[in-house]
């Protein structure tokens, strides 16, 4: 999952990047509103953590511009101004949630997981596909009850496919959502990791759709 962090405080920004990377997210970061707006407007993020008090362009304006441009990724506001009028303004601008500073990182991570899951259409914290089960809270994957050990990159790939199971996911989409903007985007890397995953879970679970990409599990109903 790819996340954008827009926070002008360098220490807090660094902490967020570190914690989110540890939690398996590919993290892009911006230190002011204009840079944040530009990234959110051009890159496909699964979720955004957006500070309200930003230099150059405030968080509310950034969010309003994104929503006006039909950028519908979940956005969690980070705000030191925790009055209800600020929260109402943020939610009315299109935010999905808010976290007041100072906050516990675990709380932020839990809310992010919930929003990413819900945006992909999953209500529960556990996602199943055949014998494979992904617990988004503990980042644990099991197959027929056995714990599967995955590397960070393998986990990211499987988690993305599990969130979007039944749907064809292109290699480009995978690259865009699994790596941050500084990563050298070579789609062959994806094939290598898909190959590794097929050795750890039933291989028929990840189908290669020629010319289009990959699909986890059976084809989802169009309805």
């Amino acid at each position: 999952m790819r996340v954008l962090v827009v926070e002008d405080d360098t220490d807090l920004n660094r902490q967020l990047v570190s914690a989110l990377s540890d939690a398996g997210y590919a993290v892009d970061t911006a230190f002011d509103g204009e840079e944040g707006y530009h990234l959110g407007d051009t890159e496909p993020y699964d979720i955004v953590v957006l500070d309200i008090g930003l230099p150059k362009m405030d968080g509310i304006s950034v969010l309003e511009e994104w929503r006006r441009a039909d950028r519908n990724m979940p956005v969690i506001m980070l705000t030191a101004r925790d009055r209800w009028s600020d929260k109402v303004a943020g939610m009315d601008a299109g935010a999905d949630d808010y976290v007041a500073k100072p906050f516990h990182m675990e709380e932020l991570l839990a809310r992010m997981r919930a929003h990413v899951r819900r945006a992909a259409g999953h209500a529960k914290s556990e996602i199943e596909c055949g014998p494979v089960r992904l617990d988004t809270k503990s980042a644990r994957v099991t197959c027929d009850g056995r714990i599967i050990k995955l590397t960070s990159h393998e986990y990211r790939l499987l988690a993305y496919l599990m969130h979007h199971n039944g749907r064809i996911v292109s290699r480009t989409e995978l690259v865009e959502h699994l790596y941050d903007q500084d990563f050298d985007r070579d789609s062959n890397t994806i094939e290598v990791f898909v190959g590794r995953l097929r050795k750890k879970i039933p291989p028929e679970l990840i189908k290669t759709i020629r010319g289009l990409g990959y699909r986890l599990g059976a084809e989802a109903d169009e309805a």
Partner: protein, 468 residues
């Protein structure tokens, strides 16, 4: 008209002056007129006595009977107008009397030793033949130019009732006239005071409008004398609001300046599993609560003394309903809003938002799925405010026992540490409600959970309720 008012002072002073001066003026006028009438009566009597003396001259030896005095009432029996010519001592002839005296005679002031005045007249007030009060004037003299002739008493009497009636009639007319004039003066004074002080009442009404939020400043057309007062008051109101806005901005900036570094400290400490980091986390949590506490207090202090702030309740409640439903949508919280149109809260919008927001947030955290916010306006029990704004927030959660309810509202008290939050929400509500001299109580809800009731001052309302 209040006793301790400018209007009363002006009116009372004018009324006192009128009540004291008019009777004194009346007495003076009455006295002057009374003297004038009595002097006129005396002058008439003197004229008649001169005529009687002249008409009695006759042949110079014996007095002749006066025939042409010029007053017909001397010929009407017992009319009260009488004359008499009477010889004194060795005087010659009989006593002559007017036809009006018939067979009676009049006492002589000379014989009663009455003192002669500067004009040679003697005066005496007696009772006449029919016991009517008479005033007698007498001249004592001789007939013709004979200096050695006998002395005669020439008397004319007139009825004292005549000037008395005239005087009492005049007194009555004067008293009625002065009473009417006095009442007219009082009425004119009252109108003058009302008219003169009307601009001050406009200022008072304008300040009331500013205080209740109907107007932002005083905008009356005022006389030149108090126009500067209005200008100064408007500048004071503007300065007051500017100070509040500046203070609020500073508090917001302070919140931002403190809370971001606190977030960094908390996250840095939580990333390590040491005794030191746990202590840092614990102390940072205390700092966070203290920062929130004093920022809240700073906001409240900044608000003390602000005037003229009124908030429409329904838009605030609708925005918070919308926001809280989105925040808690994972849980599927359904917030029902019952709120009449045009309900207005006499206070800051931010404060109302904090109260409703914290109550709804608390209810949303604890409910199963249902939360209800009911807003109504009721007649106040206290005479100081005309209406109270009643907020009721119900949830269908597990509710609280009586002892648990008594703990809620204390700053930082959390009954369930597994729920996110700082334990500050309801204590902020309690503090805000107190600052507005309202009441905050917790009860059992008919939905099964907790009911929080807040009563606050309201300004006005309309009764048509709408279900949101």
């Amino acid at each position: 008209m209040k006793l301790n008012s400018l209007a009363f002072r002006l009116f009372a002073t004018a009324a006192l002056w009128t009540v004291v001066v008019l009777p004194i003026a009346g007495l003076i006028i009455f006295s002057l007129i009374r003297n004038h009438i009595l002097n006129g009566f005396d002058g008439q009597l003197k004229t008649y006595v001169w005529v009687v003396q002249a008409e009695s001259l006759g042949d110079g030896a014996t007095p002749a009977r006066p025939t042409n005095i010029g007053e017909p009432l001397f010929g009407v029996t017992n009319s009260g107008w009488y004359w008499q010519v009477k010889p004194l001592g060795k005087g010659v002839g009989a006593t002559l009397v007017s036809d009006s005296l018939a067979t009676s005679t009049l006492s002589s002031p000379y014989e009663h030793s009455a003192v002669r005045d500067g004009g040679g007249f003697r005066w005496l007030d007696i009772r006449g033949p029919l016991n009517q009060p008479l005033r007698i004037v007498e001249r004592v003299g001789r007939l013709g130019g004979d200096d050695d002739g006998p002395l005669y008493s020439f008397i004319v009497a007139g009825p004292l009732d005549w000037p008395g009636t005239t005087i009492s009639n005049f007194g009555l007319v004067l008293a009625v006239s002065l009473a009417v004039a006095g009442l007219g003066l009082l009425a004119a004074t009252y109108l003058q005071v009302r008219f003169g002080l009307a601009p001050l009442r406009k200022v008072e009404q304008g300040l009331g409008d500013v205080r209740s939020g109907k107007a932002e400043q005083l905008e009356s057309e005022l006389p030149a004398e108090i126009e500067p007062l209005q200008i100064e008051l408007n500048q004071l109101i503007a300065a007051n609001q500017e100070i509040i806005e500046r203070a609020r901005t500073q508090v917001g900036n302070l919140a931002h300046a403190l809370k971001t570094p606190l977030a960094v400290i908390v996250n840095e400490a939580e990333a390590r599993e040491t005794t030191f980091s746990r202590k840092v986390t614990e102390q940072a949590e205390l700092m966070r609560n203290q920062v929130t506490l004093y920022l809240d207090r700073a906001r409240m202090v900044a608000r003390v003394g602000t005037i003229g702030r009124v908030t429409d309740v329904r838009p605030v409640a609708e925005a918070l309903q919308r926001t809280l439903e989105r925040i808690h949508r994972a849980k599927g919280v359904d917030i029902t809003l019952v709120c009449p149109e045009n309900v207005r809260f006499q206070g800051e919008q931010q404060d109302l938002e904090e109260m409703i927001g914290n109550l709804l947030d608390n209810a949303s955290k604890w409910c199963e799925h249902r939360v209800r916010l009911k807003i109504s306006v009721a007649q106040a029990a206290l005479p100081s405010t005309s209406h109270v704004l009643r907020l009721e927030v119900d949830d269908d959660g597990p509710g609280l026992s009586k002892s648990e309810r008594s703990k809620i509202g204390r700053r930082g008290v959390r009954l369930d540490e597994t729920k996110p939050g700082s334990g500050l929400g309801l204590s902020i509500v309690g503090d805000l409600v107190s600052s507005y001299r309202g009441t905050f109580t917790l009860e059992v809800s008919d939905l099964g959970g907790l009911r929080a009731i807040v009563e606050l001052p309201a300004t006005q309302h309309r009764a048509d309720e709408k279900q949101a």
